[in-house]
């Protein structure tokens, strides 16, 4: 019962945050709304007993990425912008498409689960602990881990190059 109410609460909040991001005129408030959503998602991870991912979510998304966003917004000194410049046909089509995507995804979520292979749930309690993830990450996925490190290095260099004044 507690878990359900927790889920409902976090879920509602995250959707509100997302909608807020979508609607807000000021980019700064958009970013703040998104941070709310990200925190709620972290909470949802907790309800799924994925503690490690939840912590990383807070650290990386809410902590690092969103701070980067806010930093850029302030650096560019962007003022308030109109959310919608009239309702063009493109916007209308976009909206319709969103609704179609939503319907499709919900339908799949509600009905398509029979397609999943039946598996036995094992060791639910420790599944999301840092120990379990680390064991897997540094043995089976060691190579992918190294590669992702290199990717981040390359991205860092790329970002520096792109943002340098000479390049502009």
């Amino acid at each position: 019962m507690l878990a359900e109410s927790l889920f409902v609460m976090l879920g509602t909040l995250s959707v509100i945050g997302a909608l807020g991001m979508l609607i807000a005129r000021n980019p700064v408030s958009s970013a703040l709304w998104l941070i709310l959503t990200l925190f709620c998602v972290a909470g949802l991870y907790l309800t799924l007993s994925a503690e490690f991912i939840a912590v990383v979510q807070v650290l990386v998304y809410a902590g690092a990425i969103m701070v980067l966003f806010l930093f850029v917004i302030m650096l560019l000194n962007l003022g308030t912008m109109p959310t919608m410049k009239g309702v063009g046909w493109k916007k209308a089509v976009g909206f319709v498409l969103c609704v179609v995507v939503l319907t499709q995804l919900v339908l799949i979520g509600a009905t398509g689960l029979d397609l999943l292979p039946a598996t036995e749930v094992v060791d639910v309690a420790n599944a999301g602990s840092a120990t379990t993830i680390a064991k897997s990450l540094f043995t089976r996925y060691a190579l992918a881990f190294e590669v992702i490190g290199i990717l981040l290095l390359v991205a860092t260099i790329g970002a520096v190059m792109l943002a340098k004044r000479r390049f502009a």
């Binding site: 493109k90 089509v93 498409l97 969103c98 499709q104």
Partner: protein, 664 residues
């Protein structure tokens, strides 16, 4: 030595020479000056294969030895290999090609001295020898065709060797185009054979010949013969050979007298057992040969350019060889190929030596301020050269006697054998052979006459060039005269490899007949028409005496005539024959005829028929396609708005479709 390796060396050394002489100086211009090195490499790369061929010959290879090197192409059941076949026929041809080739290379060392493209000349010559060896050693028609086209290419390159002169380029193009007509027929013959037999290997073709219908065989042989008329300069495709004399003289000797032009004969001899199955076509071959021999001999009577006389004489002698082929005496044709290679190469090289000397005369004349026209190849300005160039004169005379058929020279044996075979074939009930025999006799007389005329006008009498008392030519260097001496000796004694039938009475045999056609129960590479009747001994003696008499009379008559009248002899002949002489002089207006009909026809057809078609239909279609593409893209490019969100929209649309496809 391993025979396969030997064969490979024989074929590849000239190719190596072509590459060395062609590519190194091309990228390293300083090498071009080193004539000695280039000449030595060029000559050596032909001389060594000659020695190797002699080794094969002495070791007695020739029960057909096939050396397969690799599979050129294979498609289903049809395969073509690069394979070389050494048997008695290809050995004899390879001996001639490399032997005469080596001598002519040596000759070119001196003859081409000082030429700007000395290196290129030797590269082309070596390439030619390589291609010619491919042609004669090939074990299947396609490799042979490779060589066939290759020698055509080299011929083109060498005729147009001094391409700065537009006349030479035109002659080269003419030779190439006319040859292509014949090559086309050769190709068609190969297509038919592939369809009927499924293979181009000689052995398979012979094995499959019996299964073919008479009509097919006739078609194949006729097409092959048309191919041969192109390469071997027979009516109606002989017009390129006289013009081919535009090339340097060694080229005329090697390609347009001794080797390449005989490849048509070789082709027919190689496929002799197939040819024998088409008796009708054999008649065509023999009559074409006879007609060509006569026509070319009459034209040669009236030429004044020393090389053109020899060119028409070559055409005429090739006609003789086709007569032999047509009466089923293939080995005699090859015999004449060999002897002709000796004396005609000698004659050409002799004429080259003369031209070399006359160039010297021209040079001195210009030096002394002479301004008039001077053609170093015109016999009318020569005369009396015997005194200044004794060795050239003597060898030229020996070769002249040989080609005229003076008894016991090389030409006597081979020409007599041809006439004898024609006679025998006629006796066997083939009416056309009588015509061939008669024409052959007449042409032999003409040959003796016009060849002696060319000798007399060039070497005897008094010098006729301007200021002859001050300006005199000198004998050519040893690299030029040495090949002359060797070839002249061969012209005198080379005929003893093919003694007449009569010699069997005193225990001697016709060696070349046994070598090529084999003996009872052991057939050689060249088939032979089976004759029912045998010419009796008295008739044979009579024929030989007749042939000898004709040759002697022709030479003697011409000698007396031109010794008496000198250059005026030509005018006397002209006065005697009047209109006919004009026809001879202008080669029966053959070129004009082709120009009026074929060339103008093609050009006119292209201008009035095909050009509008090309502009309207072909170009129209191409432009329409381009315009349609432009119109369509004009519409479609509007999709590319450049607005990122439009692309995102398209992506989402795609996602929806994909999801729908997966779920449904």
């Amino acid at each position: 030595m391993n025979p396969d390796l030997t064969i490979l060396l024989i074929v590849l050394l000239p190719a190596a020479g072509a590459v060395l002489n062609g590519l190194l100086p091309l990228f390293w211009p300083r090498l071009r000056k080193h004539e000695t090195v280039i000449g030595t490499v060029g000559t050596g790369m032909v001389a060594v294969p000659f020695v190797l061929t002699v080794v094969l010959f002495v070791q007695g290879y020739g029960d057909p030895h096939v050396a397969t090197f690799y599979t050129w192409m294979g498609a289903g059941d049809f395969t073509v290999s690069v394979a070389y076949r050494v048997d008695h026929l290809s050995l004899i041809m390879a001996l001639v090609v490399t032997g005469v080739g080596a001598l002519i290379h040596l000759y070119s060392v001196g003859y081409m001295h000082g030429d700007r493209s000395y290196w290129k000349f030797f590269a082309y010559l070596n390439l030619f020898i390589f291609m010619m060896l491919n042609l004669v050693l090939a074990d299947n028609l396609l490799v042979m065709f490779l060589g066939w086209e290759g020698v055509g290419l080299c011929s083109y390159l060498l005729i147009g060797f001094w391409y700065e002169d537009l006349k030479n380029s035109a002659a080269a193009t003419k030779a190439f185009v006319v040859n292509r007509i014949g090559d086309f027929a050769f190709l068609l013959a190969m297509f038919i054979l592939v369809r009927e037999v499924g293979s181009l290997d000689f052995a398979t073709i012979f094995a499959g010949a019996e299964a073919m219908s008479q009509g097919t065989i006739s078609a194949v042989v006729l097409l092959l013969f048309i191919g041969a008329t192109g390469k071997s300069a027979q009516i109606p495709l002989f017009v390129w050979l006289p013009d081919a004399m535009a090339g340097p003289t060694p080229v005329s000797a090697l390609i347009h007298a001794a080797t390449m032009v005989t490849s048509g004969l070789y082709l027919l001899a190689r496929l002799s057992s197939l040819v024998l199955l088409a008796p009708t076509v054999m008649g065509v071959i023999a009559l074409t040969g006879a007609l060509t021999a006569l026509v070319a001999a009459t034209i040669a009577m009236a030429q004044t350019d020393i090389k053109r006389v020899l060119a028409y004489s070559t055409v005429s002698q090739l006609g003789f060889m086709f007569m032999a082929t047509g009466v089923g005496a293939f080995f005699v044709a090859i015999f004449h190929v060999v002897t002709h290679a000796f004396f005609k190469a000698c004659l050409f090289l002799g004429s080259g030596s003369v031209i070399h000397g006359m160039h010297e005369v021209e040079h001195s004349l210009r030096h002394k301020g002479y301004r008039g026209a001077f053609d170093p190849q015109d016999m009318r300005t020569m005369g009396g050269l015997k005194r200044f160039m004794p060795r050239t004169g003597r060898t030229y005379l020996m070769a002249t006697l040989a080609i005229s058929g003076i008894p016991l020279t090389a030409g006597f044996f081979s020409k007599d054998e041809i006439l004898f075979k024609a006679f025998e074939f006629g006796l066997d009930g083939h009416a056309f052979a009588w015509i061939v025999w008669a024409v052959g006799l007449g042409t032999a007389l003409l040959t003796a006459f016009y060849m002696t005329r060319s000798y007399m006008l060039t070497f005897e009498g008094a010098p006729r060039w301007p200021r002859a008392d001050e300006v005199q030519p000198h004998e050519s260097p040893w690299t030029i005269t040495m090949p002359l001496v060797v070839l002249a000796s061969l012209s005198l004694i080379g005929g003893f490899i093919g003694l007449p039938h009569l010699a069997e009475k005193i225990g001697l045999t016709n060696w070349i007949h046994g070598y090529l056609a084999g003996h009872e129960g052991h057939p050689g590479p060249v088939a032979e028409a089976a004759t029912q009747t045998h010419v009796g001994m008295p008739a044979e003696v009579g024929l030989i005496l007749l042939g000898s008499a004709i040759a002697v009379v022709g030479v003697w008559w011409s000698w007396r005539f031109f010794a008496c009248h000198g250059l005026g002899g030509d005018a006397l002949i002209q006065g005697r024959f009047k209109g006919l002489y004009r026809w001879w002089k202008r080669s029966y207006y053959w070129d004009e005829f082709y120009d009026r009909t074929v060339v103008r026809g093609v050009i006119g057809g292209a201008e009035h028929g095909l050009a509008p078609l090309d502009v309207r239909l072909v170009d129209g279609a191409v432009n329409a396609v381009a315009k349609a593409a432009q119109r369509i893209s004009d519409c479609v490019r509007r999709l590319q708005t450049g607005v990122v969100q439009a692309y995102a929209l398209a992506i989402v649309l795609g996602v929806i479709v994909v999801i729908a496809l997966i779920v449904s």
